[in-house]
Amino acid sequence: MAFTLALVQFQTRLGDVMTNLERHLAWIRQAKDRGADVVAFPELSLTGYIVQDLVPAVACKPLQDDPVFGPLLEASKQVDLVVGFVEEDRRSRFFNSVAYLSQGEVVHVHRKVYLPTYGMFDEGRFFAWGDRVAAFDTRFGRFGLLICEDFWHVSPPYLLWLDGADVMLFPMASPGRGIVPAEERLGTARWVETVVQAYAGLFTVFAAFINRVGFEDGIHFWGGSAVYGPDGARLTQAPYHQEALVLQEVDLRALHRARARLPLLRDERTSLFQRELARILEQRGLPKAPPRV
């Protein structure tokens, strides 16, 4: 099974969902014309990233009759979509979410489980914490979605791996920073690329990050969206600092070859991991985050 994955990095209009929806639909048409089967957008692609007090005003529900999701679900009859949005649940909790849409249906919604609330980040102030990490089946294979900070922690990609994800897509909005020491890339670009490439190789899966571009006040997003293959090689990368649509054929038969050569998945000792994790948590009393429901 092979399919063509499109990554779209673009500038959003902060807090203007309908304008951003139009931009999505235009990019989707372009990607479709160029042969895409799946089109993935960055984190909070429908709203902009630093939404702060705009959160309740820009929230939507991934339902057929929603004015934002209606047109997206219609577009998903042509091509599968990954979009980022502020999700309001039935009890008006607001999540930083991404949805996978296909054939007019919502296949999966991932709610960000790690909300960075330190340094320049303040997501925990505005969003509720997601509490689930799960892979899901698509017409192109089993996928997993994580959002930005989720994959700065090693456990969510690991869980997706064990849950059967062969394609991991990581929408993100990474503020560019780190100019010392002087390198070709920003410090954040170097780190994200290193980590996602490592996941592809360590889990023998396809892994891609989709990072936005443009500015919000003085904050700059660096783009550089990339796809890595199950041998850890970089397959394609969008340019830094500018809007772009890049396409990459994802041939899942490469998984067969990679895992024949390097049987990391076969040899993964999940029972040992589970037993030792239980022992460590019991004996060492590691700090537990407050319950997130």
């Binding site: 209009r13 902060l14 630093i50 702060q52 100019i179 010392v180 002087a182 443009g214 003085g218």
Partner: protein
């Protein structure tokens, strides 16, 4: 002089990368606000020279107005260096002598003002001229303060610290020198001793009491790397300078933030009314 034995961190930057980001920043943030032009006060110093070069690159020189605003005590060299910047960048320019405005006030209402007060009046008069030209030229005022002077508070509140956006406020002075050289700011401007030129013979480093190179090393450790002042001293940096830097940073913090509003209601500007300036644009 700094001791060569000090463990200096290499603060060099990738100038191509930083230039790209800052030019994009100026263009994006000015156009999304509904403008296509900018106004820059060009003093003849390296900070405003760099900003003028970056802004000209971002918007096209025809969309940039460089203002030279000398006072009678300003060094002729400053005016000449500002002319060099205007010539090299090809931006539009105007010279506004602030002497009659400044003196009209000082002679009548503040004849005994010391040089610091006089300097502040000049800086704020320049702000007034810049903002009036912002309206007449239809461009946003681009700021020229660097990270070193912002952190040290070596700036006049509502004077040179007043602007619509600032491309170089996260670059230390030593990085400004490097980037200025890379974008083509004339060497004579990059190499000269930094001066606010508010009185004859004034130099930044003379007034501060330490060099920018040394201050940048200390600030980088304290601010970027989060070392304690004690740890910086233990690394061999002179204690009196470390103390002076820490104290300047603390004492001048008010210049870096919006003034506090007394909170009375459930929702108050500055505390829990949180929107970016770029709200609804882009």
């Amino acid at each position: 002089m700094t001791k060569p034995s000090l463990p200096f961190v290499d603060l060099s930057i990738n100038t191509d990368l930083v230039r790209r980001i800052l030019v994009d920043f100026i263009r994006t943030e000015i156009t999304r606000a509904g403008f296509k032009r900018a106004v820059v006060g060009v003093s003849g110093g390296v900070d405003s020279a760099l900003v003028c070069f970056l802004t000209a690159e971002a918007l096209g020189p025809e969309n940039v107005l460089a203002l030279r605003m000398p006072y009678k005590t300003s060094s002729p060299e400053s005016l000449e260096h500002a002319r060099l910047v205007i010539e090299r960048t090809g931006v539009q320019s105007r010279t506004v002598d602030i002497t009659p405005m400044v003196d009209a006030y000082l002679e009548r209402y503040a004849p005994d003002a010391d040089r610091v007060r006089r300097g502040n009046v000049m800086a704020r008069m320049r702000m007034l001229v810049l903002y009036d030209h912002s309206a007449s030229f239809g461009g946003l005022v681009v700021g020229t303060g660097n990270k070193t002077e912002i952190l040290l508070g070596y700036t006049t509140l509502y004077g040179d610290a007043a602007y619509a956006l600032n491309p170089i406020g996260d670059l230390y002075k030593t990085q400004v020198w490097q980037l200025a050289e890379a974008v083509g700011v004339p060497e004579v401007i990059v190499k000269k001793a930094p001066s606010a030129d508010l009185w004859v013979g004034q130099t930044d480093e003379g007034e501060l009491g330490f060099s920018y190179r040394l201050a940048d090393q200390i600030l980088y450790r304290l601010v970027d790397e989060r070392y304690t002042p004690e740890e910086v001293v233990a690394q061999g940096f002179p204690e009196e300078v470390v103390r002076a830097v820490v104290e300047r940073m603390r004492r001048n913090h008010y210049k870096r933030i919006m003034p506090p509003i007394a909170k009375l209601s459930h929702r108050t500007v500055g505390y829990d009314f949180l929107y970016l300036r770029d709200w609804g644009t882009g």
